[in-house]
């Protein structure tokens, strides 16, 4: 089965407010898929629909070949879901939080410490979840999900509000899971994260997918104002058009030895999103 996640014409409304409209998504096995959009775009709602926590108003979806609306407890054994609103047992220690789920899933207790170690929480195993920092809580939530060794991961804003170093650690863990053949569906409004991790992305704005594709392909596709940025040893910067007309000037600078660096300017995902929607991703 290559199609791990499939959403067909998903639409959803909360009362009169339309939050998702005609969303179509397909995830191949072993792929990291990023759903990018500003806060309130409908990212979490889509995860809830795909994972069977919410019935869509229209359309259909399936994960691991099972229709989302008929997913049952046993089907979730291969699906790891990390959402910020999924709580921890605040009074229990990190170790006991994992121990509970190890007992439920029938995982040997010998796997608990390695799971904590993997997310850098082995030393914090005796600390109650209530006393953890936001970054540590995110890592504990991730450990709870990864301990089960799922084949499909849903990560809702896994690095939201975390410092760069903790975010980096989480990125490494996500890439390790991908190397293990795990399919990852993540939502983010961090374009750098999406560019770094994702094989394929979809840009979601006000419930609609406005563009989809590989991050680099999307950036190239929307590279309408092609420019060359030149930096000279003298400290001067020049901005040239990305066509044959610049060839003469570049050639002269190369001959004279004045050219220090030359870069083509390509839009990042933020620019692409801005161009498509007229608004910023980081809202």
């Amino acid at each position: 089965m290559n199609k791990t996640v499939e959403a067909r014409n998903i639409g959803h409304s909360f009362g009169a407010r339309r939050v998702l409209e005609d969303v179509n998504i397909t995830l191949e096995k072993g792929q990291i898929f990023g759903l990018l959009g500003p806060s309130g775009a409908g990212k979490t709602t889509l995860i809830k629909i795909l994972t069977g926590q919410l019935m869509p108003s229209s359309g259909d979806s399936s994960i691991l070949g099972i229709r989302s609306i008929v997913l049952r407890g046993a089907d979730y054994k291969q699906v790891g879901i990390m959402m910020e609103q999924f709580g921890l047992y605040e009074r229990l220690t990190c170790y006991d939080n994992l121990s509970l789920f190890a007992r439920i899933y029938g995982i040997p207790k010998e796997k608990i410490l390695p799971a904590l170690d993997k997310v850098g929480l082995a030393d914090a195993r005796k600390i109650a979840a209530a006393n953890l920092s936001k970054g540590m809580r995110s890592r504990l939530l991730l450990a709870r999900v990864l301990m089960v060794a799922p084949m499909l991961l849903f990560l809702d804003e896994p690095t939201g509000g975390l410092d760069p170093s903790t975010s980096d650690e989480i990125h490494k863990l996500i890439l390790e899971e991908k190397a293990r053949g795990v399919t990852v569906f993540l939502t983010t409004h961090n374009m750098a994260e999406a560019e770094k991790l994702c094989d394929h992305i979809a840009l979601l704005n006000e419930g609609k997918i406005v563009a989809t594709g590989a991050p680099k392909v999307l950036c190239r596709q929307y590279n309408r104002e092609k420019r060359l940025k030149i930096h000279l040893y003298s400290g001067e910067d020049r901005d040239l058009s990305h066509d044959a007309s610049a060839a003469g000037e570049i050639s002269k600078l190369l001959e004279s030895g004045d050219l220090e660096t030359i870069h083509s300017t390509e839009p990042n995902l933020e620019n692409v999103f801005m161009e498509l929607t007229g608004r910023s991703l980081a809202v």
Binding site: Q85, G87, D96
Partner: protein
């Protein structure tokens, strides 16, 4: 199935001493019984007066509030949803939490019984009556917990309900009119049963009222569960 129930039971046991709001429910009346039975002796006072009184208040308060509170907290913090998505069935969760509360309340009931001086068959009958009462209170608590979205909502419903079942039997001892109303509640019937354990006075209305209360509690729970399940309030 038993593995999941054991896991939920284990989780609750781990939380026992850390969840002070619940823990105090389990120990308050047993401790008060020990103190009052040993420190207050009034001429002409009914034997085991404080044990009888506090046993009934314990039944009306501890299982009801702890069941509602645990359920509502898990719903509010979305930990219950995680459990259900980890293939824990609602019935397994309820049995896991229920068996924990029942066990701890029975331990508290035993302490009250010992402090009240019950022995032998009377002690056994007392535990039987308490076990039944704790079960009915737990079902009412589960109904409130299922109905409530969060702990605040659960508390606002639990407090008046708990006051009715735990205080009516006490007030009915002093007021005939209230006694006439209270006799329709399971907690008043439990008080009458426990007071008469030594000479086993069972009026015909006792089993009827207890059975009707149990059925109504179960019905309330089924309605609340069908309306909200364990995930939504």
């Amino acid at each position: 199935m038993t593995g999941h129930i054991r896991a939920i039971f284990w989780k609750q046991m781990k939380e026992t001493f850390k969840n002070k709001a619940i823990f105090i429910q389990f120990v308050m009346f047993p401790v008060m019984t020990i103190i009052m039975e040993n420190s207050v002796k009034i001429e002409g006072m009914q034997p085991h007066f404080f044990a009888n009184l506090f046993a009934v208040m314990y039944v009306g308060m501890a299982p009801l509030t702890s069941m509602a509170s645990i359920l509502a907290e898990e719903k509010e913090k979305n930990t219950l949803r995680v459990l259900l998505m980890a293939n824990v069935r609602p019935v397994e969760y309820l049995i896991g939490i229920g068996s924990y509360i029942w066990t701890l309340c029975m331990f508290g009931a035993a302490v009250i019984g010992v402090a009240g001086g019950y022995t032998g068959t009377v002690f056994g009958l007392y535990l039987l009556v308490m076990g039944f009462g704790i079960l009915v209170s737990m079902v009412i608590g589960a109904a409130i917990g299922s109905f409530s979205k969060n702990q605040m909502m659960a508390t606002s419903v639990t407090v008046p309900v708990m006051m009715i079942f735990s205080f009516l039997p006490m007030i009915s001892m002093f007021n005939k009119t209230i006694a006439n109303v209270a006799r329709f509640t399971y907690s008043e019937q439990l008080r009458l049963l426990i007071s008469g354990l030594g000479h086993l006075k069972v009026s015909p209305e006792m089993p009827i009222v207890l059975a009707v209360n149990a059925v109504v509690a179960l019905g309330l729970f089924i309605v609340a569960y069908r309306r909200s399940g364990l995930e939504n309030g």
